[in-house]
């Protein structure tokens, strides 16, 4: 069932790629322009996706017949938890300019540790120590301008 849907996704994605590639300029001196490779890749996606979807048609029919049995057995809770790290990355991107990189990292790590049942004091200690170590390593040793944030006083991060 999922292979069928992924096959369809590749067909649609490939179609979009071809459509976008058609808008690229052609070169008068050369018969092959910047649209050639994207178009070929798009065609490959359409073709491969279609074959994948068609070869899995049988499984779709069985899934329909068992009235969504396969779908209801799917582990949605597990899927939701596996998306938490992504949500934390978005949080970091949006909040690090205000909160600063070390605080954002520490909060993210703390939450993830607690989700998997770590002890609060241990999670708190590890996340704070690691966040400070990573910040110092990248910001002071490798000179990466990690966002310092406006919340914490600069004097705290200056050392």
């Amino acid at each position: 069932m999922r292979d069928f849907l992924l096959g369809l996704a590749f067909v649609i994605g490939g179609g979009v790629v071809i459509a976008v590639a058609r808008t690229y300029p052609t070169m008068p001196t050369l018969q092959f322009g910047p649209s050639l490779f994207p178009s070929l890749i798009g065609a490959g996606m359409v073709l491969g996706g279609a074959i994948l979807a068609l070869t899995r048609l049988a499984s779709v029919k069985t899934a329909w017949r068992s009235a969504g049995g396969a779908l209801s057995a799917y582990d949605y809770r597990g899927l939701a938890i596996s998306l938490v790290p992504c949500a934390l990355i978005v949080f970091y991107i949006l909040a690090s300019d205000t909160l600063g990189a070390p605080l954002c990292m520490a909060l993210g790590m703390l939450l993830l540790m607690l989700i998997r049942g770590a002890k609060l004091w241990l999670a708190l200690l590890v996340s704070i120590v690691i966040a400070v170590v990573i910040y110092l390593l990248f910001s002071r040793y490798l000179l990466i301008p990690l966002p310092e944030g406006t919340l914490l006083p600069p004097s705290l991060l200056a050392w």
Binding site: G48, L52, P85, Y92, M109, L122, A131, L142
Partner: protein
Amino acid sequence: MEPFLQGLGMVFNAQTLLVILAAAVFGLFVGAIPGLTATMAVALLVPITFYMDSTPAIAAIVATSAMAIFAGDIPGTYLNIPGTPASAAYVGESHRLAQLGRARETLGTNLICSVIGGLFGTLVLVLVSPSLAEIALNFSSFEYFWLALLGLSSSIFIAIGSRLKAFLSLTVGLLLSTVGLDMMSGAPRFTFGIPDLMAGINFIPVMIGMFALNEIMMFYGTKNESRQVPVTARDSVFASVPGHLRHYWRNVLRGSSLGTLIGALPGAGADIAAWIAYALGKSRSKHKEKYGSGHIEGIVDASSANNSGISGAWVPALVFGIPGDTITAIVIGVLYMKGMNPGPTIFMEGGGQVYALFTVFFVANLIMLPLGYLAIRASKVFILTPRKMLMPVILSFCIVGAFAINNSVTDIWIMLVIGLVAFVLARNDFPMAPAILGLVLGGTLENSFMSSMLKSNGDLLAFFERPISAALGALVILIWFLPLLLRLMRRLRGRPAPQQTPRSP
């Protein structure tokens, strides 16, 4: 002689040796924790190597990958969970041995085989690549086009599992490689008006997303598991190893040479080398019936093969700029960043850079001996490190590492999007290696095609006019039709198709 001594000097200094030691310990740690792969270790290391000189940077990558591949055997032996996919082939065998009270003996044998395999692969690299480079000097865009296509084709046909999924995975990588300004016309492609995408997608965030973020998401998607070491180990690490080596020296040699060869094939890395070496070892053994019941012969072939595969993958990467596996795909990016453009000229330029590179391989493989011995003695420390504390730390490294390459938030977004796509694809058994090869080789493929067409005024037959180009072209076409030919031959002989090799976890 002078470049050689210069090369030695670039390696045998305090900074580089310290980097090798630290990288080896890091590789040991990552390899010994199930769920963290050698490729992930290297992807996480790159943002730090970015700020080093080229020799210590490459030394760090070589030491990390070699050590991680050996360390993958540690949880495999004690817990029956391979630390890296490269240990999956013989994990059952080594765990049975551990249950028989021979855990340290098994790991000691693994260690020595890994060192021999790694040194064998390095010897091949040292002996073969300079002469291959001389041939490659005569290559033009026509040959490079076919070489890139050969690499991409073999990444599909060697892939374990569905070839169709490998092909679709490849199209994702190729599509990513087209993002940015077109080399010929200067037209922006798939940039969505974002200035950071004009120069193309930086592949370090892609690697981190594909191999680290994806694994983190996989970890949170699975149920909690508690780990205990069910077997105790009090046997000696090295006492029985000389005897095993005397008995099975042919297996070590066969595993090492097979591993080097498979490692050198684009798209096939240490994991596939181990599977094939294990299968071949079993089929040629006089004691086939003992395989699976705790037979030391079962681990000799494969543990030599996975480490020699790591070194073998460097041959095409250095000579042609075509990566042999996912690790060398990252390495090629690092080499470009360091101004050491991979390709035949790397061997012709003066200075000791190439000798330094070769020396690094020997040192990194030899340092495995003492560090591996200590790791075997202290196995429990690595195995029982709780992943619930480690994965959040890795996530922080992912974010900062992706940002560090260009100091750009766009790279964090790229890592996130690629991580999500890789997660969906990997959960549905799409292999990741073709996507990485597509991303690394896509540019070479398109640019060599376009410049060939400029030279030949759009005549496609020009790809078959030069002798080496024609031979490479014929080889590519043969690979495309090989599955069909094999099926036809089997049908003519009236034999059923053999089962696929089991998928590595």
